[in-house]
Amino acid sequence: MSVALLPGSAAPDYAPVTPRQLPYMNGTPNPSAAALRERFPDAVTRVDVIWGETSVYVDGPRLLEVVRWLHDDRTQRYDYLADITAVEFRDPERPIEAIWHLRSLPFRRFLRLKVELDKRAPLSVESVWPVYKSADWMERECYDMFGITFRGHPDLRRILLWEQYKEGFPLRKDFPLRGRFSRSEQLKQALAAAPESRYSLEELDIAQAFEDLPDDMRRRLAAGEKTGE
């Protein structure tokens, strides 16, 4: 039988326990934070430890370099990207934080990277897709919900909302809970969207329906556009 029963996990030298009595601040930071400070003294701007979780603030343009080092270095081995998300605070002056949750499965470490994005400039940050393939949908979702552009992502388009969605980015604080449009307008647009009967240009190209397309869609497809109705 091909299922092997292993008592516990791969790294036997360290037995993790359920965290208890976590200090609010001034907990023990993840050793990787000090290593990052040493390796990238000008890219690491701040290290926070809250409830035992270490957050490292990274300079935006250096993010991919930092992540690649964390992934490749033999003493770090952050091989697992748990999550990508962002936070917009209620204080309108405070920058949006883009957040990466990384795990090192061999060393059983957890690290949070943060990049602060100024709201007055276009929200844009480096994609980590070249390092972690799992970033694909997480970055698309983050773009869909917050409008953060991930430079270098292979196919950055909306994922949960449909491509013609016009109301903006729902998880931004200036987006009202019920949406921007009236209920009747939302209903009209949702019925007209009929996303299950639409195919992207890329998909129509598979079906060799190119000749049947209207002129403007053919032009857009010829220009290399992948998405659209």
Partner: protein, 437 residues
Amino acid sequence: MPTTTRTVEIALGTSGLDAEGKPTRTPLTVGASGAVTPAAPAVESGPDLAGEHMLINIGPQHPATHGVLRLVLELDGEMVVRCIPHIGYLHCGFEKIGEYRQYNQIIPWTDREDYLNAIGNNCAFALGAERLFGIDITPRCTVLRVMAMELSRIASHLVWLGTTCIDIGAFTPFLWSFQERERVYDLLEQWVGARMTTSATRVGGMAADIPDGWTDKLRDFVRTFPKTIDEVDRMLTRNGIWVGRTVGLGAMSADDAVNYGLSGSLLRASGVAYDVRKDFPYLDYETYDFDVPVGVHGDVYDRYLVRVEELRQSTRILAQALERLPDGPVNVDDHRVVLPPKTKAMSDMESMIHHFKQVMEGARPPIGESYVAVESPRGEKGYYMVSDGTAKPVRWRIRPPSMINLSAIPKMTEGYLLSDLIAINASIDIVMGEIDR
């Protein structure tokens, strides 16, 4: 695709009985492609249709996609060349709604995102919120939550088993597994009053303690449930059709599985022994004696074996939890977070103030953030919460394991047949409520 072949003994119903009266087993070599050798290689006949690719749309209203998932496929004959998944048909904006709710008011939403693991999500959310509030829960509550999470894992894996069997063409295991799932839901109903949308936890404790005699019923379940697992095991594990339809499909290597962010049974079937309960323990899971099943090939068959073994291990954990269930209070003794008893709120001034403040304003955690991950039946389920000191979170993020598992489906299915895609999709164990949120 792995190039290894392995020998699986396949019991065929027609091959007769041996001296002990058991069906004789014919050893057959099963190739990586799922083709059973010895078998004549498929001979291509008919006109050459190479180059004529077809576009096929599956879903969103298709029973084999397990919810409102839409897959657009490029087919070369019957082979999948490209698979383009479309999700979002069930998007409800749970994370946005959470920013307008107090922490205890979010718990009903956690039922509804991954609805097969409702009580497990309740516990996971409460754990995240408790870290944000800086609370350590009572010993009795810890053990009760372990029971809740393992019962929920059993119920969820049983749904997976039943629906996957139906996809692949076996109907009987579906009936067996749903019968057992009904017993789990009966137990949950007696405990919290609801079967699927349990809303069982509160920040700092549980909504209700278990009723009298409940542990006896759970002990009965723990005693009899392994028989059903054995029955399913006997029916499927060496079944020629089952092996032929699952072996070698959708295989992910260990490196790929980690890089694509797979978690849960999929990751372990690929040979990576990552289980949040062992590696980043919560609820004292490090003190329970259980094993993490790990596969070798990462294909649909190994995922099946891993999940069936997880059912057995969950039963083991339940038995140990029953042994150690301590007496004592369920909720923490901190009335800034947990509501005081109603009788006290009516007679005691301080309790009334706490009651009023909690109901009208809500409990306020300090400024901070927490990411708590648990091992849900689908993988690493994480809740990330950010507080700015008010009673409502600034951000509530769900880390959806089945969405990230599903994002690897183009990688898993390309080069396989259309009928294999159904088996691979079933093996991912998706819940669209969690994927779309």
